[in-house]
């Protein structure tokens, strides 16, 4: 299946990615010096991986930088409508940062952020419950975030532009 086969990532690519994971703002020259390469090689390889949608070098920002102080998980039961359609509608909310179709007792699992508890009632009772097909919602509130590590993520084409 050559069509689906991704262009391969070699050891030099991986070494560059590790450098970028440590410091995404390191210059091509710094990375080149650390790895014994030329800056031009580093630059070309980063550009190729980005063009192939294999790599994004980005700033991640903390929830609090955006005024989001509350993190919640909401388990949702769907009735009378395809779960994928309900999930697409839920994903349109800017506060929803993850929406998954899941197996088990619930149909959709959603992670969302809120600025404060004043926004909770409107979010739960109006905006989520009013999405067609949502039968029930079961929220769980995060009181403490012990670990939060995601450096592997689906990269959508054109995502960085």
């Amino acid at each position: 299946m050559p069509v689906n086969e991704p262009p391969s990532i070699d050891d030099i690519d991986l070494a560059i990615v590790r450098q970028l994971q440590d410091n995404g703002r390191a210059t091509n020259k710094q990375i080149a010096q650390n790895l014994g390469l030329t800056a031009a090689t580093v630059s070309a390889r980063i550009r190729r991986m980005e063009a192939d949608d294999k790599l994004r070098v980005i700033a991640v920002s903390d929830f609090s930088a955006h005024g989001y102080n509350i993190l919640m998980e909401v388990a949702i039961e769907v009735h009378g409508r395809a779960a994928s359609e309900v999930a697409e509608d839920l994903a349109k909310m800017p506060e929803a940062f993850a929406v998954h179709l899941v197996t088990g007792r619930y149909d959709i699992d959603m992670m969302l952020v809120l600025k404060d508890f004043d926004g909770l009632k409107d979010m739960m009772l109006s905006r989520i419950m009013e999405v067609e097909g949502v039968r029930s919602i079961t929220p769980t509130i995060a009181v403490d975030i012990i670990k939060y590590q995601f450096d592997v993520a689906p990269i959508e084409a054109g995502d960085g532009s």
Partner: protein, 163 residues
């Protein structure tokens, strides 16, 4: 949680950097109509305050661990923090939240084979004496995932190098 001191210029800077962190200070400065020194100073402060971090997100790591499971854990509330700390040490666990609701702890696990989730949930977590119940939910399809807004934790840099 204390309110972060972030103004409009900071948010514009974050927005630009969250799309491409490889832009030079000069390129960013000209986009925002400020000096290079302002950009450099703001980036430094946001980093020092733990409000932004620079990293590389890869999709090729997904070949190894492309599936996501949510592991809900019930325990006595007084044990939750200690259990969460132990679960956070497990290498395949990407996020651990202490929660109020159906569970005391919610952990996110990236995996490839179902047997890996079973091993973590049923062999390792359930084996802890303080854990009463473990419930695993498998995500079969991801509709949305925003990797750009996260909780920046102190151990982030250390665990980056994990795999």
């Amino acid at each position: 949680m204390s309110a972060a001191q972030v103004d409009d210029l900071d948010l514009k800077l974050i927005d630009i950097l969250s799309r491409d962190a490889r832009l030079s200070n000069r390129q960013i400065a000209s986009q925002l109509g400020v000096t290079e020194g302002t950009v450099r100073g703001r980036i430094k402060r946001l980093q020092e305050d733990g409000l932004i971090a620079f990293t590389a997100i890869t999709s090729f790591g997904l070949a190894d661990r492309s599936k996501l499971a949510l592991i809900g854990i019930q325990s006595d509330a007084t044990d939750a923090r200690a259990i969460a700390d132990r679960v956070a040490q497990m290498p395949d666990i990407n996020a651990v939240l202490v929660t109020m609701g159906r569970f005391n702890i919610l952990a996110v696990c990236l995996f490839n084979e179902l047997s890996e989730v079973h091993h973590i949930a049923s062999e390792q977590i359930l084996a802890m004496k303080e854990v009463h119940h473990v419930e695993t939910t498998i995500a079969v399809h991801t509709i949305k995932y925003n990797a750009r807004i996260v909780r920046i934790t102190n151990d982030a840099a250390a665990t980056d190098k994990g795999d």
